[in-house]
């Protein structure tokens, strides 16, 4: 009986047969990758290097950058109280998001679960704000946050309940919470969506088996659902943190980082120096710090998530 070549041999044969074919293949690969590569290198990668260059200048954007200051901008930023405030605000938003917004999304996702009648409708409604533009959401919440109880719904409720009207956007202690509430309204639906998709991937049999073994709902959730949702939760934490680091439009529209920098974020800080005060060198240095922050966080995330397969869930 004639022996057929093993499969890998067939592949090898295909490779060597016909040089023109090979050239055609490489040409196709190059042509297909080229548009993405050009745009990506030009508008995403190159700007990073460009801003590293400018970050070492004191430059107002008029004329060429000539006033070389070395690393002075980087030093100045670290001693600027407003920058430190922005960092602490971003950290607070991260803590709030991961500690409040995501658990809320998870709780609602579990509640809507797999089989609840009306599941699709709830998903549609909870996810709806995500598709609205940030500026429209910001304006909607500014209407609600109006300090005058005769005009803003929230203060109308507060005063009707016997409280004093709250300076939602003018009180330096509260403004960040107000912004966070609006952010949660807009974004928790997205995380819920991820959790719903993750839940869908958990085999029903596992929970049934646990129930037969006598596990109650809580045990089921903490010992079956939560561990198996691990990779989805990690993804959503990652996206949430990255989103918090770069939070801009909602804050800028609602408060411009104020009052007295109480709601300053890194992005509003950078925007102020870059596009309002035109201290472009200083602004670039802020951008570099943000890049580094994102990079460090992403590397930590990748290190933490590189786990054995049996831990990454299904």
């Amino acid at each position: 009986m004639q022996q057929l070549p093993a499969i890998p041999d067939i592949l090898k044969l295909k490779r060597v047969s016909g040089a023109p074919r090979r050239f055609q293949d490489s040409l196709l690969i190059v042509l297909f990758l080229l548009p993405a590569l050009i745009l990506f290198l030009l508008f995403v990668i190159y700007p990073i290097f460009r801003s590293i260059y400018f970050s070492m200048f004191d430059w107002n954007g008029l004329g060429p950058a000539v006033d070389f200051v070395g690393l002075q901008n980087f030093k100045d930023i670290l001693t600027d109280k407003v920058f430190l405030k922005a960092i602490s605000n971003v950290l607070l938003i991260i803590v709030f998001s991961v500690g409040i917004q995501l658990p809320l999304a998870l709780a609602l996702a579990v509640m809507v679960g797999r089989g609840l009648p009306g599941r699709g409708l709830f998903r549609t409604i909870f996810f709806m704000p995500y598709v609205l533009s940030e500026i429209n959401v910001a304006i909607m919440w500014m209407l609600l946050y109006n300090p005058d109880p005769d005009r803003g719904l929230l203060n109308a409720i507060v005063t009707a309940l016997g409280g004093e009207s709250i300076g939602w956007m003018s009180n330096t202690d509260i403004v960040l919470v107000s912004i966070f509430i609006a952010l949660t309204w807009k974004y928790f639906g997205f995380h819920m969506l991820l959790y719903l998709a993750g839940l869908q991937n958990i085999p029903l049999e596992l929970e049934e088996a646990a129930r037969i073994d006598g596990a109650n709902s809580f045990q089921n959730f903490f010992y079956i659902t939560l561990p198996l949702l691990g990779s989805t939760i990690r993804t959503s934490v990652y996206l949430s943190v990255l989103g918090s680091i770069q939070q801009f439009i909602m804050v800028w529209i609602m408060t411009k980082g104020g009052p007295v920098n109480a709601s300053e974020t890194l992005a509003t800080y950078m925007y102020r120096f870059g596009f309002v005060r035109f201290q472009l060198g200083y602004g670039s240095a802020v951008a570099i710090y943000m890049f580094i922050l994102c990079l460090i966080f992403s590397l930590i995330y990748q290190r933490l998530t590189r786990r054995p397969d049996y831990l990454t869930g299904l």
Binding site: R21, D25, I29, F32, L33, P35, A36, L37, L39, F40, F43, V44, P47, R50, S51, F54, L108, M111, G118, F122, R123, T124, I125, M128, P129, V131, L132, S133, E134, I135, N136, I139, M140, L143, L144, R151, L153, A156, W185, L193, L194, A197, N201, T232, T235, L239, L242, I245, F248, I253, A267, M270, G274, F275, L280, S284, A287, M290, F291, C294
Partner: protein, 289 residues
């Protein structure tokens, strides 16, 4: 459910369901309050907005809505946004479709390296990169390529910053198409391009629709890039116009409500029609990526 051990099973289940629906309905109400208040506000006169701002608009006043809709400026904003959205979406689908095909289906040296380069983009969102991007646009302007104050510039930046995520999404979808189809097509004499064009793309239509729907939302809602790139008001997009309008009529809450309501409605309608595509794109990107 220890609270209700003495009840029969069906009653326990019933109680839990009631509890679930109670909480979920509360959240539904919270979700709708800002939108309902906005729509109420858009149907009131300025005077009514001051006297009873969050009451039901009775009778509804359409004056503000009509006033905005009859302004040519509003339609120009719409038009610019639509043009930008379509161009960005077409660009993203084209550019990412090609690249994702290569990453999902073809082998070449240093493939992993090139792919990793693209995933770097996931770490640097546009909000962080906007100032550096502005430098590059300015530099190109000086070189004679007018990208500042031009929709082309906005479009290119939007495409560039949507490349990473969408390549990832599409690669996931493309990889899921069975390898047997590829083998069969080669045996039938297809080359790589034929396979891409005649077999993969038709099969991947839902994936392309997902990416398109997602990009449309992102581009339509984008405020930051137009804000930084565009100066002349005849190029403004809808979110940029909204920002300007709010700055100008900030005190006239009824008017602002009407404007925001009008600019939200297209998005909401689009969402109702494309919900499935948007969601499949998002979950594919996040859960697989």
């Amino acid at each position: 459910m220890p609270i209700a051990y003495f009840l029969p099973r069906w009653a326990q289940k019933f109680l839990v369901r009631i509890f679930q629906y109670l909480i979920l309905s509360t959240v539904v109400v919270v979700m709708f309050v800002p939108i309902v208040i906005l729509i109420f506000g858009s149907l009131k006169t300025t005077g009514e907005m001051y006297s009873h701002p969050y009451a039901f608009p009775n009778p509804p006043h359409w004056e503000n809505l009509v006033a905005i809709l009859t302004q040519p400026a509003f339609w120009r904003l719409m038009w610019n946004s639509v043009i930008l959205m379509l161009a960005t979406t077409a660009g993203v689908v084209f550019v990412c479709g090609l690249a994702a095909f290569v990453f999902a289906r073809l082998e070449f040296r240093s493939k992993g390296w090139v792919f990793n380069l693209f995933t770097v983009g996931l770490m640097f969102p546009i909000n962080v990169a906007i100032l550096p991007v502005y430098f590059v646009l300015r530099q190109m302007n000086e070189m004679g390529i007018p990208l500042i104050d031009s929709l082309v510039g906005v479009c290119l930046v939007q495409i560039a910053f949507n490349i990473s995520g969408n390549i990832l999404i599409l690669r996931g979808f493309f990889t899921a198409i069975p390898a047997e189809l590829q083998d069969a097509s080669y045996i039938d004499g297809c080359n790589n391009f034929d396979f891409f064009w005649r077999i993969l793309l038709p099969l991947a239509r839902p994936a392309l629709a997902a990416v398109a729907a997602l990009t449309m939302i992102v581009s339509w809602n984008d405020l930051l890039v137009p804000l930084v790139v565009l100066n002349s008001d005849e190029l403004w997009t809808l979110p940029l116009g909204t920002m300007q309008f709010q700055g100008q009529y900030g005190q006239d809450l009824a008017m602002v409500s009407a404007f925001v309501a009008l600019s939200s409605i297209p998005t909401l309608i689009f969402y109702l029609f494309a919900e499935r595509q948007i969601i499949s794109g998002l979950t594919a990107g996040a859960v697989k990526g």
